[in-house]
């Protein structure tokens, strides 16, 4: 019982982090039809900014805010400077571009911050709760991770559903030409979309880093899981990304706890294959079936 609970809870925490990363991928895919392979290093470099601030003796929260803010900025800059020129080119150009960014940002981080392992603090305790005589593996930081991702999701839903900017961003994502004819400044919406996505990516980077070691490729393993989570949910659906992340996090946690941690990556791919065989568009795709 205790192992089951522990496995489920740590899976939930992990899943929330995957969900945040997947959400970042989905936000960009929806608006620009680009899979942002550079998402992980973009998040990583903003976490380094937080680390520099925290190591200089300022509070964790200042670093936290700085990472999110620099994520916002970095997303906007990357879209404006690097992505804009390839937006109306064949898709492969954008793929190569984000792969290139992946390598460049990596190298930059190693040059600027060094490639040794550095420990990143966590604002809350890293040991589990005790209820009666049962140890529950949910740590203070785990609770914070779950709440932080939930809060971001809630804010995104509020933004997209209930504000004019959110409506204009969605319109730009679905139909650029019609949006422009209606007076929406589509290019500005795309920049804002990238900025938001990069910020969500930075959040996932901060949550992975908390209480762990940070080095230039510490985010790389999350790319695979985040991407699987995004595809699981159907790349177009933010809710899908969240559900995909949770499913993946919990099931991988069970695989790791009951079978062995060495098959986790394999299990992720098996889950992906099974879902895509049953629902090729992902769990939450609402693409209409092709009529013959």
């Amino acid at each position: 019982m205790q192992q089951f609970l522990t496995t489920a809870l740590s899976g939930l925490t992990q899943g929330m982090i995957f969900a945040a990363f997947a959400l970042a991928l989905v936000l960009i895919w929806r608006s620009t039809r680009i899979v942002n392979f550079a998402q992980a290093p973009m998040a990583m470099i903003t976490v380094y900014i937080a680390l520099v601030i925290i190591d200089a003796g300022y509070s964790y929260w200042l670093g936290f805010a700085a990472a999110l803010l620099s994520g916002l900025l970095l997303g906007a800059v990357v879209e404006r400077v690097a992505v804009r020129p390839v937006e109306d080119k064949p898709h492969i150009n954008a793929v190569i571009l984000t792969l290139g960014l992946f390598i460049v940002i990596h190298a930059l981080a190693a040059v600027i911050f060094g490639s040794r392992y550095r420990s990143f603090p966590a604002p809350f305790g890293l040991s589990g709760f005790k209820v009666g005589d049962m140890n529950i593996a949910l740590t203070g930081f785990g609770v914070f991770s779950i709440l932080a991702v939930l809060a971001v999701m809630l804010l995104l839903v509020l933004l997209f559903r209930f504000t004019n900017v959110g409506l204009m961003m969605r319109a730009s994502a679905f139909n650029q030409e019609v949006a422009r004819l209606l007076g929406v400044r589509v290019t500005r919406m795309l920049t804002q979309g990238w900025a938001l996505a990069a910020m969500v990516g930075s959040l996932s980077g901060l949550l992975i880093a908390g209480g762990n070691l940070v080095h230039p490729s510490y985010m790389d393993s999350v790319v695979v899981f985040g991407f699987v989570a995004a595809v699981l949910g159907g790349l177009d659906s933010p809710i899908g990304a969240v559900v995909g992340g949770l499913i993946l996090g919990v099931s991988l946690s069970f695989v790791s706890g009951y079978i062995g941690s060495e098959v986790v990556a394999l299990a992720a791919l098996v889950i992906l294959m099974v879902v895509l065989l049953v629902r090729p568009g992902g769990l939450f795709s609402h693409a209409p079936a092709r009529r013959v």
């Binding site: 204009m168 209606l182 007076g183 589509v186």
Partner: protein, 234 residues
């Protein structure tokens, strides 16, 4: 109101529009007719800036439109309802309409939205459904309503009758006619369905291979047998 002078545009090496000039007068409907590939859609796309003219320009009142970005057009009072309707099917009916109110110089008031719902009661019933569930005729009503929310002076309509039952076409054309009378709207109506278009239009323009062939009163065009047989197919 809308003054088109020597407008010329091309898709790469292919000329789509070749020195077209005419004026769409204020408070009137001007029908743009012609066969497939005559340049009707290209004409509207060039006016609204989706396609940039290689020569010539369009004036809205006295404003030269040739350098105005597409996104600014609706604020100047030009609304373009593109071919294939342009409903954003992933958004709800209400969201589609609200979008229409964002591209205008002032702010849309709730009363403006309610006016559209009174005009199209069928849309009001489905306000919070995704536009995906609407029929062809309802979609056409939605895009017209959405364009009206931008409070245009000039409305460019690309084939509103496409794929609709004759009864629905008649309903929509009646509505356009009454809007012209009530709001003093200027309409440029591109149509394949020449007979219906000429029945509500004040003036008609016939395009062939990107060139303007005739520009005359709608009644004159409808009565000209040779022209009808040669270009309009009825």
């Amino acid at each position: 109101m809308l003054d088109i002078r020597d407008l010329t545009a091309a898709y790469g090496p292919v000329t789509a529009l070749d020195g077209v000039s005419f004026t769409a007068p204020e408070g009137k409907i001007t029908a743009v007719l012609g066969a497939n590939g005559a340049g009707k859609t290209s004409l509207l796309r060039t006016i609204s800036g989706l396609l940039r003219p290689t020569r010539g320009t369009a004036y809205l009142a006295d404003q030269d439109l040739s350098r105005v970005p597409v996104e600014r057009m609706s604020r100047l009072g030009l609304s373009h309802v593109p071919e294939g309707r342009g409903v954003i099917t992933e958004l709800t009916v209400d969201e589609n309409l609200r979008l229409g109110g964002m591209g205008r110089a002032d702010r849309a008031k709730p009363a403006d939205l309610e006016r559209i719902y009174t005009l199209f009661p069928k849309l009001a019933d489905r306000r919070h459904k995704t536009a995906h569930v609407l029929s062809g005729g309802e979609r056409q009503m939605l895009v017209i309503g959405r364009a009206l929310l931008a409070t245009p002076k000039v409305l460019l309509l690309d084939e509103p009758s496409l794929g609709l039952a004759p009864r629905i076409v008649a309903q929509i054309f009646d509505l356009l006619k009454s809007l012209v009378e009530s709001d003093g709207l200027t309409i440029v109506l591109v149509e394949q369905n020449a007979r219906s278009a000429l029945s509500i239009a004040d003036f008609g323009v016939v395009l062939n291979l990107g060139k303007l062939v005739v520009h005359d009163d709608a009644a004159v065009l409808a009565g000209d047998d040779t022209l009808r047989h040669a270009y309009l197919g009825f």
